[in-house]
Symmetry: D3
Subunit: 236 residues, 6 copies
C-alpha cells in the first residue's frame, strides 16, 4: 500500500469502498456485525495482521497459559507491525472476550493502526476512550480462555464472514470495517476518491432539491457537466 | 388519519400504543429489532408507503441496474408521498444495506416523514445527523444489490415480523417502531392520549412513593378521583 | 455480603471478576447479551432477587391480569428488598418487554439496587434517565403479556445463560453483568481488589511503553518488586 | 382427563388439535422444534409432569451429583406418575443431553406415557427402539451436567416456547407435540374427533377430484349433507 | 421449458445444476434448508407458481377467513397450473404450517408437479406418503393463520433465500431444491446432462481406484479420451 | 492410538465417551450439530486429519480453481492417511457443500475411516449409501466455492465448536461425533469399556424393574456385587 493510498482511504467511506469492490465482483468483504467501539472521528486504515482462535479445550486453557511468553494472543499483540490492523477470527462469538484494555493499550503504544474482532472486547468502556480504533460486535467480559484458544498468527482467516489475508488493507469508518485485497488497494482507493467526489456533489444537489433519477448514478449529461464545473471550483 | 391524530401520536410512546393495540387483540405490530438511528427528539408519524425486497439474483443486480430510472428502490424514494413513512421489507437481514444517505436525503427533501427497515442502512453515521427519523437494526455498508432486489412498491409487506399495509399509520419513538392499522388509528390515538395522561399521573405518584398495586392499573377509587383532580389542575 | 464487600465491588470491573471466578472453575457467570441502558457512572451491586417468566398462554394473559394485586411481576417489584438487584429470566427473548419505566421507577423508589433482564425493557429511553442501574439486550415496546407470564418469585433461574440463585451477588459495570455465588462473594471481592490494583499498575506501565510479556500476567521479579513500590506510594 | 378423552386423543392429529385450540384463542401450544425420535406408530397422550433445568454452575454439577438420591433429574424419573408424560424445559438447547436411554427405559418401566424435551437426548438411536414415545430436537451426547442443572419438579414451565402447566394434556403424533390446557381437554378432544371425521371425509372427496373451495372448510350445503350420509354409512 | 428439458432435469442432481448455475455467476439459487418430505424416488421438475405470505395480523386471520373462496392460499392451490411447482415464501419460519395434507392432496389431484416451502408442513407424515414431491424445513402443526397471511399469488418471491420468479424452473432431488431462471433452463439442462455423464464416468473410475487429481475436473487428455470411449460404449 | 484402542472404541457410545471426558474436565468435545448421514451400523474411529475452510473471495474461487492439482480440498482427500478421519471446519455453515460424493468415494477407496463436517454435504443421498461413515448437519447442494475456500491442511481447527488437533481420536456413533485428545485416547477407551459394561448391566436391571436410585450411578454395595457376578457370567 502506497503512503498516498493510506491517506486516500482516510477520507472515503466503507460504503463507497464496498461499492468499488462490488464492481470487481467482490461481494463479501465487509466484516459483518463489527461496529466501532467509541468512534474516534477518523478512519482506521492499515494492512491486516491476523490472529486465529479455535475452540478452547479446557486442559490447554487454564489461566497459567498466559504466563507462557509464547502465548499466541500475547505474541500477536507484541509482533503486530506498527501501522497494521490486528484482525481476529473469534469464530463470530462474543460469549467470551477477544481481548481487553491492557492488550489493546499495548497495541496502541506499539503503533498499531487498529483492532477488529468478530467477537467482543472486555473493558469495552475503557477501550472506547483509548486513542486507537477498535471494532467489535458487543461488550463481553469473560476471559477468552473460556471459549477460545489463540492458535495461529498471520494466517488467512475469516472475520465476520469476510475473507482476510495478511496484508489485505483494512478500512474502518463510523459504521463498519472492510477488507480490500492488497493488490488492488491502490486502484480501489483512487476510484473511491473519485466516487466520493461525485457523491459529495450529489449530496449538495440533492440538498438543493434535485431528484436522484439521472443524478445518482449519473446518466444525464447535464449532471456530468455540472460535476466537472463543481470539481474545478473546489479543486477536487 | 386526521391531522389531530398525527399530532396526538407525536406525544405518546410506542409502548403505550402497543398496549392499546394489545387490548384489541393485536400482538405483533411492533417492528422487531428496529431502533432509531440518531434519535432526533420527536416521534416519527405518518402513513406507510412500502418497498419490498426479494433475494438478489446476480444477473439482475449489477450496478448498472441503478441507471434504470424505473429501478424500484429509486422510484420508491421519488414517489413516497410527503408526510409518509417509507417502510422496507429487507427480509430481516442487515448483511447488505437497505438504503444510504443520498437516497434518505432525497426522501427528506421530498418531505418524507421517516424511513424504516428491518435490515440496516449504509452511511449510518451521516443519516444519524439528517433531519429525518430513521430506524434500522445495525449499520451495514454493502450495497443492497449484494443481497436484495427491490421488487414491489406499496404492497402489503412484513417488516421485522410486523404486518404492514400501505396506509397503516407508522409511529416511531426513542425506542421502537409500531404499525397501527389505518382504520383504527384515530381511536387508538385518542385512547393512547388518555393512557398517557394516566401514566404521567402514575409516574408522579410513584415518584412520590406510592405503591403500584391498585394504582397501575387503577383498581382503587381513591386513585381514580385523584387522577380526575390532577387532570383538571393540568387541563389535560 | 459484608458491607465492605459491596464497597469493594463498586470499584472493580466485571472483566476482573470474570477472571477471578474463572480461577475457581466458574465459566458461565456473565449474563450473555445484557448491556447497560444508560450507563450511570457507577457499578450496580446487590444480592439477587429473581423473577421467572414462562411462555404466555393467551387465556391467562389478558390486560385484566395486571389488576390482580397478586400478579407476580407487580409483587416482585413491591417485594424486592432494598439494596437487592431484581434479575429476570425472560427466556432470552426481547420480542416483548420484561418491564417498563413505571415499574422500574417504583423499584428505584423502594431502594432497589438495579434491574437486569435477558430480554428488553419498554420505555427504554426513559429508564436510561432514571437513577437506578438497568441492563437489557435491546429496547422492546410490546407489553410482556404478549410473550411471557411472570410465574415464579425468588427461585433459582437462568439469565442470559448464567445461573442465578437468590442471594447471589450481582455486579454490573459499563459493559456487562456478572453473578457471584454468594458464599464466595467476600473472597472474590478481595481478590478482585488485588487484581485491580495490579491491573492499574500494568496500565500505567504499558502506557509508559513496557511490553506485556512478563508483566501481564506477572512472571518477572522486577515487575513484582516495582508493583510493591507502586502500591506503597499510592497506599493501595 | 376422562379415560375416553385419552382414547379420543389417540386418534386425532396434533394439527387438528392445534386448530381446535386456535379457535379458542390459543396460538402457542405446539412445542416448537420437537419431533418424534423413532415414530412408534401411535400417539403419545398423558398429563404433563414437568422438570425444569437452569444453566449449570460448575461447582454444583460434577458427576458426583448424580450419586445424590435426591437429584431432581433422577427423582423426576422415579416419581413421574404412570400414564403421565415427562416434559422437560431444557432452555431450548440441545448442546447437552436432557436424558439418556437408561433413564428413559426406567420411565418406560414405571409406566410413563412418554417424554418430551426442547433439547436433545443422548443414546438417541437406542431410545428410538424403546417402547415409549420420545420427542426432542436432535441427538445430543454430552451429559446434561455440562449445560443444565435440574432444579424444579412439576412447576409450570416453558417447553419449545409452549406454556406447560402440570396436568395439562400432552399429545404427540408423527410430527409434533401439543399442550392442551387440562380444563378444556375433554371438550377439545370431542371437537377434534368431530373435525377428524370431517377431514377424513374431505380427504376422500379430494382424492375423488373435488375442489377444496366450499368443501374445506365446509360452506356448501351439499357437502354438509354428503358428510352426514358419509358418517351414517361409516358409523362415525 | 421444452418437454425434453423436463425429461433431462428428471435425471440430473441439484448439486450438478448448482454447479452449472455457478458457472454463470448464479450462486444463490438453492432453497436453503428445504429437504424432501418422504423422498419419492424421482426428481420434482416444473415451472414455479408462487404464493407469498406476510406476517399475520390477528383481526384479518381468524379461522373464518378460510371460508372466503377468494382466500389466496386456497386459490393458489386451485389455480396452480398442472405440471407446475407451487413455491411458498413463508418468511423462513416453520413456527406455523405453510400447508397441510388436504391442500397438498388437492394440488396432487390437480396435477401439480410438487410443492416447496421455506417453512414447514402440518400432517407431514401423511404428506410423506402422498404421490407428489414436497420439500420443507421441518414438520409444523399450527395452522398458518397463527403466523402468516397468504397475500400474493404468482409474484416474484424469496424462498429459503433463493430468488424465485414465476415460471422459473424448479428442480428437487433427494437432497435439495434449486431454482433455474427460465430463459436458461434449456441450456442448463443440456449442460447438466453432459456433466452428469462425466460424473458417472468419474465415479466408476474412482471406484476403480483412480485419483481425482486430473480426473475431476478433467485436466488430463487420457481421461478425456477414456470418457469419450466410455460414452460410446454406453450410448450416452 | 493402539490397535486395541480402536477396537474398544468401535463398541462404546459417544455418550459414554462424553461422560469419560467430562470426568477429566473436558466439556466441549462433541461436534455440535453433526449427525450421521446414513447410519451404517458401526462406529467411525480414527485419528483426525483436518481441513480448514475460510470465507470464499470470489476472484480466488472460480470453478477453474479445482483444475489446480494443489487445491487444498482435493489434496486433503488424496493425502488423508488410511484409517484416518477427515474433519472439516466449514465455519458451521451448510449454505454450501463441504464435499460431495465423488470426493468421498475417493476417500473411501483410499481407506479413509470417515468424514465429518460442521456444514453439509452435497449428493447426500448417494453418500448415505457409500461404505464410509459420514457426518454433517444437513444436505447442501451448492459447490463449496460459493461460500468457502479450503485454506489449511492438518492444522488445529474447530468443528461444531469442538477443538480438533491433528491426530486426536475421532469417534462417531449412530447419534454424534466426539473428539478424544490423542494422549488420553487409550485410557479413555479403557474406561469407556468399563462404563459400557456397567451400563449394559444397568439396562438389564432396569428392564427387570429396578429403580435407578442407587443403581445408576452405583451407590449401593448390592449392585456392585451383582455387577461383579454379572461380569463373571458373561466374561466381560
Amino acid at each position: 500500500m502506497k503512503d498516498e493510498t493510506r491517506e486516500k482511504l482516510m477520507d472515503v467511506s466503507v460504503a463507497t469502498l464496498a461499492t468499488a469492490l462490488y464492481k470487481r465482483g467482490l461481494r463479501s468483504q465487509v466484516v459483518q456485525g463489527a461496529n466501532p467501539l467509541g468512534w474516534k472521528g477518523k478512519n482506521m486504515v492499515g494492512p491486516a495482521y491476523t490472529l486465529r482462535y479455535m475452540p478452547a479445550r479446557e486442559d490447554r486453557n487454564q489461566l497459567v497459559e498466559f504466563r507462557n511468553p509464547e502465548h499466541p494472543q500475547r505474541v500477536a499483540i507484541e509482533q503486530c507491525p506498527a501501522g497494521h490492523v490486528l484482525v481476529m477470527d473469534s469464530r463470530k462469538s462474543a460469549a467470551a472476550a477477544s481481548a481487553g484494555d491492557i492488550l489493546i493499550t499495548r497495541l496502541m503504544k506499539r503503533g498499531g493502526a487498529g483492532i477488529v474482532t468478530d467477537g467482543g472486547f472486555r473493558d469495552a468502556a475503557v477501550i472506547a476512550e483509548l486513542d486507537i480504533p477498535a471494532y467489535h460486535t458487543r461488550p463481553s467480559s469473560p476471559t477468552n480462555l473460556t471459549l477460545n484458544e489463540a492458535i495461529g498468527i498471520n494466517e488467512p482467516i475469516g472475520c465476520g464472514d469476510a475473507p482476510v489475508f495478511p496484508g489485505d488493507v483494512i478500512v474502518g469508518d463510523a459504521d463498519c470495517v472492510i477488507v480490500i485485497p492488497q493488490d488492488i488497494a491502490d486502484e480501489v482507493a483512487d476510484e473511491a476518491v473519485e466516487m466520493t467526489a461525485y457523491e459529495d456533489f450529489v449530496v449538495e444537489r440533492v440538498k438543493d432539491g434535485e431528484s436522484i433519477i439521472g443524478l445518482y448514478p449519473c446518466t444525464k449529461d447535464e449532471h456530468r457537466a455540472a460535476f466537472e464545473d463543481w470539481r474545478k471550483e473546489r479543486g477536487r
